[in-house]
């Protein structure tokens, strides 16, 4: 920490107070954003923090002026938070910021238009980031992390303020412009990030319900960047619920409308969209996998193209940890049935080349031999079981002649394509 004289400290604090009150008076949102972005570690905020730690009694400064004392409570908490943040006392920093945020949101409710919406976004972001840092500090001290969870509750409260129908209608009628409710999607996305990090994704349900069914929201009004983020997270939830057509719609939206320069985000979308598309019988081109460094999917795609069950198993094993972490392992494992279908089709085509008259009869014994070649050991009963499943799921059209141990394929379209629909639908 640099040395700061009392005089200089006084000057810096007063300057900040003037900027803050000025920003509020002139509804200067970008300025307010800058004044609140702790995690940006801007030189001006850091030098303010140093000044506060030297001066120690900023409250007296605030009290001296009516202009400042109007926001006395907000500023006191803010300063306390910044001081703690500067000296690396992150739990204290979070707690003080929580108090600041509560007070700030109360003021925000009273301000007419939504001029301070972006500043509110900054506050929400800082709540989450500070909570994460606080939890790291807690765990490194052998204590139980609980601040991120608290942040989730606080963000829910903020969401509630933005979704408050009384506020919305009242202010909409009076002032018309810039309703606050369009901020709700940003807060929702901060909530998603919080819940995903905590692993409590079930808590997403209530906000999603509010966004998608409450009549005060018009989904089209939300800014595109928030819609992209929203679709990404709700798309991921659909993947977890194995609701593939919905996942496809949402993740595809995110992909198409994401800022093309943000390649890491695009890669994340694809990471979840690819298993979904594969489950719908659609495969990504190699260029796509190359461009976004998604090599873990290459062998999976090859396995599906060829009907190579051994390659699929190998691919799942090779990247097991990665697939498990992202939660797509089960989705990819279920592709096995589609790979079986492709293999059966290959066997059928090969048989047609040498003996077209009898090609539509697949002997279980022949299938077993092909499987053994692919290092899958099954007796005829097990093969029969697999074939029954394939028929049941409409991946194979035909019937099982149990006594003769043969699958008799339909003469027409024995291996129906998925055509963008999930298996068995």
């Amino acid at each position: 920490m640099a040395y700061v004289s009392m005089g200089e400290a006084h000057r810096r604090i007063t300057e900040y107070l003037n900027r803050f009150c000025g920003a509020v008076s002139y509804q200067d949102s970008p300025m307010l954003c800058r004044l609140l972005s702790f995690s940006s570690n801007s030189p001006s905020l850091l030098s303010l923090a140093d000044a506060l730690n030297v001066f120690q009694d900023a409250s007296s400064l605030i009290r001296q002026s009516d202009k400042f004392s109007e926001y006395g409570e907000i500023l006191a908490h803010l300063f306390r938070s910044l001081q703690s943040y500067r000296v690396g006392n992150l739990v204290e920093a979070y707690l003080a910021f929580e108090n600041f945020a509560n007070a700030f949101v109360q003021e925000f409710r009273n301000w007419e238009s939504a001029w301070a919406l972006e500043a509110l976004y900054v506050v929400c972001y800082e709540i989450r980031i500070l909570a994460e840092k606080a939890d790291k500090e807690l765990t490194s001290n052998g204590k139980s992390p609980e601040k991120l969870k608290a942040a989730g509750s606080l963000l829910m409260k903020v969401f509630g303020v933005l979704a408050d129908p009384y506020l919305v209608f009242f202010f909409l009628k009076l002032y018309g412009k810039g309703p606050k409710r369009v901020g709700a999607l940003y807060v929702t996305c901060q909530l998603f990030k919080t819940y995903f990090k905590l692993g409590t994704v079930n808590l997403c349900r209530s906000v999603i319900r509010s966004i998608e069914t409450a009549r005060i929201f018009d989904y089209e009004e939300f800014p595109r960047r928030d819609k992209v983020t929203y679709m990404y997270y709700t798309g991921r939830l659909e993947v977890f619920n194995e609701n593939f057509p919905a996942a496809d719609t949402k993740l595809s939206y995110a992909l198409q409308h994401c800022n093309p320069k943000r390649e890491r985000n695009i890669r994340m979308i694809l990471k979840y969209l690819i298993p979904v598309k594969l489950s719908l019988g659609i495969i990504p081109k190699d260029e796509l996998l190359q461009k976004y460094n998604l090599h873990e999917y290459m062998n999976v795609v090859q396995a599906l193209r060829k009907g190579d069950l051994r390659l699929l198993r190998h691919a799942l094993q090779e990247h097991e940890d990665r697939f498990l972490r992202s939660g797509v392992y089960l989705v990819l494992e279920k592709l096995e049935l589609q790979v079986y279908q492709r293999l059966m089709k290959k066997i059928y085509i090969i048989q047609k080349l040498s003996d077209p008259a009898r090609a539509h009869q697949l002997k279980l014994e022949v299938i077993a031999k092909a499987l053994r070649w692919l290092e899958i050991d099954m007796d005829l009963d097990e093969v029969e079981c697999i074939m029954t499943i394939l028929i049941y799921k409409n991946l194979v059209k035909g019937y099982l002649a149990h006594k003769s141990k043969v699958v008799v394929l339909s003469k027409q379209d024995p291996f129906p394509k998925l055509n963008g629909k999930p298996v068995g639908s």
């Binding site: 991120l148 990030k193 990090k197 960047r225 093309p260 495969i283 260029e287 022949v366 963008g420």
Partner: protein, 75 residues
């Protein structure tokens, strides 16, 4: 052994609140220009008619050889 266990617990605790795939924040003040070309391009990176009748690849050739040994054995 005890040290090992402690290390794993710590690892688990740190891992506790992780999401490998947290979406990066978009800048609040800037919206990006949507390029129609780019939107379309992304859409064209998928194939839905890959499921053809072509058996000229290596895998199919090897499969065919494998199947032929069955019929050969039978004769």
């Amino acid at each position: 052994m005890a040290a090992e266990q402690k290390a794993t617990t710590e690892e688990v605790k740190m891992d506790l609140f992780e999401d490998d795939d947290e979406f990066e924040e978009f800048e609040i003040n800037q919206d990006w220009v949507e390029n129609e070309e780019q939107v379309k391009e992304v859409g064209l990176q998928w194939e839905d008619d890959w499921d053809d009748d072509d058996v000229n690849d290596d895998f199919s050739h090897q499969l065919r050889k494998e199947l032929e040994t069955i019929s050969a054995a039978k004769k």
